[in-house]
Symmetry: C2
Subunit: 159 residues, 2 copies
DNA sequence: TATCAATAGTTGATAAAGTCAACTAATATT
DNA sequence: AATATTAGTTGACTTTATCAACTATTGATA
């Protein structure tokens, strides 16, 4: 007879009063990122998918604009743009109307992989929200929006 | 007359089809962590609030147990426990029933600040979910649970 | 118009948090 | 008794972030 050792292996996600929202959100965020990586198997880009999609979709994206869009530090943006430039996915271009600004231009390579990135977003979303009715989807989205509004004055914690 | 320059300053959180859940969750997670830090102003602990609360509340918490509870690498757990030990908030104690296991024991100092940590969790939660009816709260919680179940097979992305 | 303040971006030093592989010690399996 | 597995540790490394100091450019103002 095999005596299975009784180890404490609690579920990561037991809903109890004590589990803070910070953990739940961060945890689900990591899960979603993991899913996107699984779906978007590409040698050309292993991270910064959302950043690149913003660059591709918006017009005249400056680095400061990305700071505002993503809520990250400008120094971090510099390094990410360096990385994407190295990968030949974007180019910096000085704005003639304000020579301080660097407009980030996606390359054709980036434009090409954009649909795959967005497909990965949709696949992940479909996986996460599987079983949600149309009404529930709308409600959930609205709830997230309300939460964001409620927390708009709170500083981000980037660690 | 002051000519206000028209910069592109989009809201961080515009709900559109293209904004991936990964970003929304991570973003709200950071917001919540920021709120907890704001609320829990303490010299004794600036991070790992949730980790410490799990240690305080559960019985016989081993490091492996924390790996399972928080979904993080065992090497990371080692370093966090080192940090908490240095701060005199926990102690390692070898389990006599299985001398491989280190049971993490909270100190009285940790037990003392636990209510403050939990109060910060509740304050943040109240802020985030402000305006939610009792019914909506239950629904939201249930939706998060469904999402977690949907994604249980997906690997985490720890970056 | 000259001066000063503000803004966009860069850089360097540093910190936090994670990875992976190799390792020890203890326990479980066969 | 030999081997496999598990818990924890360590070292080298990577990613992602911070902050402060810096340049270049533009805006405000006296």
């Amino acid at each position: 007879m095999i005596l299975q050792k009784q180890t404490i292996k609690p579920s990561v996600f037991v809903p109890d009063k004590e589990k803070p929202l910070s953990f739940i959100f961060s945890y689900l965020g990591k899960k979603c990122k993991g899913s996107i990586k699984e779906t978007f198997q590409s040698t050309s880009l292993d991270r910064y998918h959302y950043m690149l999609s913003v660059i591709c979709r918006k017009q005249k994206v400056t680095q400061q604009c990305l700071v505002n869009s993503l809520g990250i530090d400008k120094a971090t943006v510099v390094r990410i743009i360096d990385y994407l430039t190295e990968k030949k996915l974007v180019k910096r271009s000085i704005n003639p109307d304000d020579r301080r600004e660097h407009i980030i231009i996606p390359t054709t390579k980036a434009i090409k992989i954009l649909p795959k990135i967005e497909a990965a977003f949709l696949t992940t979303q479909a996986l996460a929200l599987k079983g949600f009715s149309r009404k529930e989807l709308a409600l959930f989205n609205h709830m997230l929006l309300r939460i964001e509004t409620n927390m708009s004055d709170v500083k981000l914690d980037e660690k």
